[in-house]
């Protein structure tokens, strides 16, 4: 900690950027990028830039409770210990389970894993990382013998070709994308190929975009292998020395896709020329790095697809070389850390599995009283076991499976079967917490103290700079407290996260006798002061020469030291037919997971405030859907509602919706309702990217908006409606629809709710009505309901009215929710400077010769975090091509 402030690590994605916090114990702090951190070198994306916005204590969970009754930690932990003891006595060790999260710090993860697998004798410990990169983990193990990603971020800068597949890198891992873009800008010969069914922000920047048929990635990489072999582009020598399985793999690939590039292109739904262009580029470019993420992993053949990617890199010897590697980019801040300690049910600890030696060695180190003997249940199976009544006590920490696992209705039913559901959370309500019997207040970012590991194996500190609010406590502390109540005082006698870190590092020393690369033994005796001053470091930390990459020497941590190419024949996935659609899911630029944190940041809610379903224009026309229409998406399992967004970047018959919405933000939940819990048979990772659904336009009787200032309760009548919710700075904005009730019914309902209303506009023809509540403090609520389409209010305006004692606003403004004569703001593109698309297009209209830089000089858009640059550039490009077109028309 130097004069420039306290250094910590961002709470969001797996890039793991360093963050500098200027002052301590300030919940209104502005954070900046840590210029010394190797992951970001000072850069931050829009979510990271607004980390300070999620610090206020609005809706924080601050006291433990049992069945809704606030209790002391002592009573809560005693109750948990009693329930665990009872369940295990009556139903056996495996009746107790833990479901953890890539949001946890390594120390928290370690404590949970040690308690379960070493002292409770249950390996039913899984984590939401199962939803994120379990397929890549399994592929790593199959190919390398260990879940050890061989690459580092520098590779994307060094590479001459970067292949991005199954990843909207620009939005999901923005800082890594910016590093790639900066390198490309410096050296324009560098190429980027993006493989994605959608024309994403990443695809817009590609030299070549392959809009692949959903699910055909395995075929594509099989075809690439066939091509590489046919064109003698494989590294024969490297294969001979370091790689097994080449012939079988090639044979399987040939069987899968044949050798005819025309047929291969058809299988992938791509123009043959594009396919061949990609293959040629790949073959010719030694420094090729392939990045992949959830688009590959969240599939019924996610492991095979990951191996298909690794196969072509092994076949070309491009593993662990500078700029040449196969690189799985993890979604979460500590997905990697969780894997290190054994957070997945099929892992024991320190990259060890459940072989007798490992069980014995780890058990001895822990002085474990009851070691788990075999792998536990993976996420989907775990919740199926809950549904079957086999799990009696389940402790969920820092994750929201009802919203994030497929088939939300099933998960909710499963949780209802668990006798004692314990949930550790930072907010008062999530879809999962709402099911809990015991609620434990956890620490949030800025309060937590420990370490995280990012996608390139760099361990960084998350440091606390805020005083823990209320009764919120560290997750490891909660686990250790319960462990002590269970009689395991000696094994859980930690006083500080540092002691856990050191114990974990000492445990990893066991790997010295193995070929495994995970080893932290060099820091096993780290002092507290050294832990506090920890600088970001990549593992392995075995005390020998550091290397940013693994396996560059061709030595792999497998039984014979060789890498394994894996023959794969990916199963083909559902294709749309008979009027059905294929739903794809993914992330938004400015939101994170189930929005329990980013959902509270006003700035982050501006970019995509609505829950939208992206529909190809032809499909929209076919269903008579226009922008903003309420639409229902249904599968056999359930349905969700969203607002239509007609989007030419979609393929016909394919729909897209963001995965963030759940019942906290949408009355009827989100995409999890319709996705089947089909999993990859090896990794157990659900196929969340792919659901066959029906689409239907919904006709509402009435629709409207409700703004409620902070501290005001939501009215009961909302329960009768269909709504979407956004947090604003001073309150909450609901967009609602009434499918059954007419506006008259609604008005009657509303008149009964007793909310003191100080202003109203009613219309006997019942086309619309508005109500407003104001007190001396400002606007308390604003309610506007219409029979026809309703104009959006300006939430910034409502926020201002909510915080001004006497807003002094015109009637018009108060009743329309917009400033008088305010131009329509449009969609916010640049969150940092709050610049909308209409502002940008207006500027471009009035400045015919404007370039990106003149635009940026004028409006600042994209000059801070740069997350919006792709969108800004697209607007400039669209304007330029429109001008060319009109110039052509004039000629």
């Amino acid at each position: 900690m130097n004069q420039t402030g306290l250094k910590t690590t961002c709470a969001y994605c797996g890039v793991g950027c360093g963050v500098t916090v200027p002052t301590e114990n300030d919940r209104r702090v502005n954070v900046s990028g840590d210029a010394q951190h190797p992951a970001n070198r000072g850069r931050l994306c829009v979510k990271g830039t607004h980390l300070g916005d999620v610090l206020p204590l609005k809706d924080r969970l601050l006291v433990p409770s049992v069945h809704g009754e606030p209790v002391s930690w002592d009573l809560a932990s005693q109750t948990i210990a009693d329930k665990i003891r009872q369940a295990q006595a009556q139903y056996g060790a495996n009746s107790v389970a833990f479901y953890l999260s890539g949001q946890l710090l390594t120390e928290d993860y370690y404590a949970a894993n040690k308690l379960a697998k070493g002292f409770l004798g249950t390996a039913n410990v899984d984590t939401n990382s199962r939803l994120c990169m379990a397929s890549a983990v399994a592929a790593h193990v199959r190919a390398f013998g260990e879940d050890a990603p061989p690459s580092c971020y520098e590779d994307v800068e060094i590479a001459d070709l970067v292949v991005v597949t199954g990843s909207n890198l620009a939005w999901a891992h923005p800082v890594l994308f910016q590093r790639l873009q900066a390198a490309r800008a410096e050296q324009p010969s560098k190429k980027m190929v993006v493989i994605d069914p959608r024309k994403t922000a990443t695809a817009l920047e590609a030299d070549l975009h392959l809009a692949i048929k959903p699910g055909a990635d395995g075929q594509l990489f099989n075809a690439l292998l066939v091509y590489l072999d046919k064109h003698q582009a494989c590294a024969r020598e490297y294969i001979a020395e370091h790689v097994s399985g080449y012939a079988q793999t090639l044979a399987a690939a040939t069987l899968d896709v044949g050798t005819d590039s025309r047929i291969q292109a058809e299988l992938c739904g791509l123009p043959e020329a594009d396919l061949l262009a990609f293959f040629a580029l790949f073959a010719q470019t030694p420094k090729t790095t392939t990045l992949w993420s959830m688009g590959i992993n969240q599939s019924e053949s996610g492991v095979d697809k990951s191996n298909a990617i690794i196969n072509v890199h092994l076949a070309t010897g491009r593993i662990g070389q500078p700029g040449a590697s196969a690189f799985s980019i993890t979604g979460q801040p500590n997905a990697m850390g969780g894997r290190e300690v054994g957070g997945l049910a099929n892992q024991l600890a320190i990259h060890r599995g459940f072989d007798a030696d490992s069980i014995a060695q780890v058990g001895a180190f822990w002085q474990a009283s009851h070691m788990a003997q075999k792998p536990g249940l993976k996420a989907v199976d775990l919740f199926d076991a809950c549904l079957a009544g086999d799990i009696k006590v389940l402790w969920i920490m820092a994750t929201n499976p009802v919203a994030s696992l497929p088939d939300a209705n099933k998960i909710r039913a499963a949780l209802a079967q668990v006798e004692t559901l314990i949930v550790s959370e930072v907010v008062q309500s999530t879809d999962t917490l709402d099911c809990a019997d015991i609620r434990l207040p956890a620490l949030a970012w800025g309060e937590k103290d420990g370490t995280v590991t990012n996608s390139e194996r760099t361990i960084s500190r998350q440091r606390p700079f805020l005083i823990a609010p209320g009764q919120a406590r560290a997750d490891w502390w909660a686990l250790a407290t319960v462990a002590k109540k269970l009689g395991f005082s000696d094994a859980f006698a930690w006083h500080h996260a540092h002691e856990i870190f050191r114990e974990h590092a000492r445990l990893s020393r066991l790997n010295r006798a193995t070929a495994l690369s995970f080893d932290l033994s060099a820091v096993a005796d780290l002092s507290l002061a050294e832990y506090q001053d920890w600088l970001p470091q990549q593992w392995p930390l075995d005390g020998t020469t550091r290397t940013p990459r693994l396996f560059g020497d061709g030595q792999f941590p497998s039984h014979d030291g060789r890498a394994q190419m894996v023959p794969i024949s990916p199963i083909s996935v559902d294709q749309p037919d008979g009027g059905d659609y294929i739903l794809n899911t993914g992330r938004l630029r400015d939101q994170w997971h189930t929005m329990a944190r980013t959902g509270y940041a006003m700035a982050l809610n501006q970019h995509s405030p609505q829950f939208e379903l992206h529909i190809h224009p032809n499909d929209a026309e076919h269903n008579a859907i226009v922008n903003g229409d309420l639409v229902a998406v249904r599968s056999d399992l359930g349905s969700f509602y969203a607002l239509a967004r007609i989007d030419a970047a979609q393929q016909p018959s394919e729909l897209f919706a963001a995965m963030h919405w759940n019942r906290q933000f949408a009355s009827h939940g989100g995409v999890a309702n319709v996705i089947a819990s089909r999993v990859d048979p090896i990794s157990g990772q659900p196929a969340s990217k792919h659901a066959r659904v029906q689409l239907a336009k919904q006709t509402s009787q009435a629709n409207g908006f409700l703004f409620i200032g902070d501290g005001q309760p939501a009215p009961d009548w909302l329960n009768e409606l269909l709504w979407f919710k956004t947090h604003t700075r001073q309150g909450t904005l609901y967009r609602f629809f009434s499918l059954q009730q007419s506006l008259a019914d609604f008005i009657a309902l509303r008149s009964q709710d007793g909310t003191p209303c100080t202003m109203s506009l009613t219309d006997s023809s019942q086309q619309s009505a508005q109500w407003i509540g104001q007190d001396a403090g400002g606007l308390q609520f604003w309610l506007s309901i219409h029979r026809a389409a309703t104009p959006w209010p300006d939430s910034l305006f409502l926020d201002r009215a909510a915080e001004q004692p006497n807003p002094g606003l015109s009637l018009n403004a108060l009743l329309t929710g917009q400033q008088d004569d305010a131009p329509i703001r449009g969609k916010i593109v640049c969150t940092c400077f709050s610049v909308s698309d209409s502002q940008i297009t207006d500027f471009l209209q009035s400045h015919a010769q404007a370039s990106l830089s003149t635009l940026q000089t004028a409006l600042c858009c994209g000059t801070n975090c740069g997350s919006c640059l792709t969108e800004v550039k697209t607007l400039v490009k669209d304007k330029a091509s429109a001008q060319t077109a009109s110039a052509d028309a004039l000629c």
Partner: protein, 406 residues
């Protein structure tokens, strides 16, 4: 009955019976126009020609110097006028152009104006023996109310303009006031429910108890007024009951004279009764099946009648009746049709700033407007109604968008 008719041919006296606000206005106009002939005004009241409308502020502010006189000496001096106060007309012969007065004398006239006004509708009881049960119509009523002991409990019957004014004035004097109204909202002739509710709030806030949709079932006044019982059996102990539940035109004299009457004395557009030389003016009249309780049409009548008496051809016609006044510190404006069953009604209520607008639209035209607390749209709405201006979005009108644009 009348003596010596043949010997006393009708002289040229203009006889005016009653000296209320209508007569006061008529005299002012006649003075302006230089009416030459003799005028005799006969009035039952001691005080003549005072401004009833100012009775409320006069009542509420005993210290304020409020001039209630509508006719001053200068005006009267310009006329050839005789005023007989505290005098009643005992009998009236239209044919014989003659009246007999309560002092026993007879008076001939050429033309007569009946301006006997109206009387309040009082509850059914022997109110004549109960000074504590009375209307709020006369200066005498005003003096009585001013003299009430402090913190008297007063019930006011009627939630129209007069009742609201009385209740407000009495509350300002510190009395405990209960306002009883048979309709389910106050001021139901001028306002529809939303703004009436807003107005009601200001009364409740001022400490006035409201009993809406209630009537008086019984009055315990033996020997003195002690309590009243409402139709829901609620008993209210009261010291005083003010009846402001409407008026009844005073038509007894006209009936006795054999003139045509309905609710009031029927007049034509020249304000002539069924006898051509007898005119009627003000609250005692009925024109086109309507009676009158507001000052504006009465003053319009006075103007027409003054012209007629001067030999002119002016005609009285019903015009849109606007109400524009202040009650309980709130400006109230009402114009046009506010109870058309097919109208689209938009209502804006702002309790925070004590203001409201209710607008009535039919076939894309504004037909009626109610404004409370903020009359900034009053003239604009009047224009829209009179010009039948087509309106595409009623919200533009009620939010004042078009007005702002104009």
């Amino acid at each position: 009955m009348f003596s010596d008719l043949a010997n006393n041919p009708p002289d040229d006296t203009l006889l005016i019976i009653g000296f209320g606000m209508a007569t006061a206005r008529l005299l002012n106009r006649l003075a302006d126009l230089g009416y030459p002939g003799p005028i005799c005004v006969v009035s039952r009241e001691k005080n003549v020609g005072y401004n009833r409308i100012q009775l409320t502020p006069w009542l509420a502010n005993p210290e304020a110097d409020i001039d209630l006189n509508l006719v001053n000496a200068t005006v009267l001096a310009r006329l050839n006028i005789r005023i007989l106060a505290q005098t009643d007309v005992v009998s009236f012969s239209a044919d014989l152009h003659r009246v007999r007065l309560s002092d026993g004398s007879e008076m001939p006239f050429a033309r007569a104006v009946i301006a006997t006004g109206s009387q309040p509708v009082l509850p059914e009881c022997d109110f004549r023996s109960q000074p504590a049960i009375r209307a709020f119509r006369t200066l005498e009523d005003g003096y009585f109310l001013r003299a009430l002991p402090e913190q008297s409990h007063v019930a006011v019957l009627g939630g129209g303009l007069l009742g609201l004014e009385a209740a407000w004035g009495l509350r300002q004097l510190g009395h405990r006031v209960t306002l009883i109204h048979r309709n389910n909202h106050l001021l139901n002739r001028q306002l529809s429910a939303p703004l009436a509710a807003l107005l009601a709030n200001s009364f409740v806030k001022a400490g006035i108890t409201l009993r809406l949709k209630r009537q008086i079932r019984a009055i315990d006044s033996d020997p003195r007024l002690a309590s009243i019982t409402l139709d829901n059996a609620e008993a209210l102990p009261v010291h005083c009951l003010i009846a402001a539940a409407g008026i009844r035109p005073n038509i007894d004299l006209a009936q006795r004279a054999g003139l045509a009457t309905g609710q009031g004395i029927q007049v034509n557009e020249a304000l002539q009764t069924s006898a051509g030389h007898i005119f009627a003016l003000g609250e005692c009249t009925e024109f086109a099946a309507q009676t009158f309780g507001l000052v504006a049409p009465v003053y319009a009548q006075a103007e027409v009648l003054a012209q007629r008496l001067m030999g002119g051809a002016s005609e009285f016609a019903l015009t849109q009746t606007d109400t524009r006044l202040k009650i309980s510190g709130l400006d109230v404006f009402s114009t046009g049709q506010i109870n058309h069953p097919k109208a689209q009604v938009l209502s804006l209520v702002d309790q925070y700033q004590q203001r409201g607008r209710t607008l009535h639209f039919l076939n894309h035209r504004l037909i009626g407007a109610e404004l409370l607390g903020d009359l900034s749209l009053a003239n604009y709405c009047q224009d829209l109604i009179q010009t039948k201006h087509p309106i595409s979005d009623p919200r533009d009108v009620i939010l004042g968008r078009l007005q702002n644009a104009a």
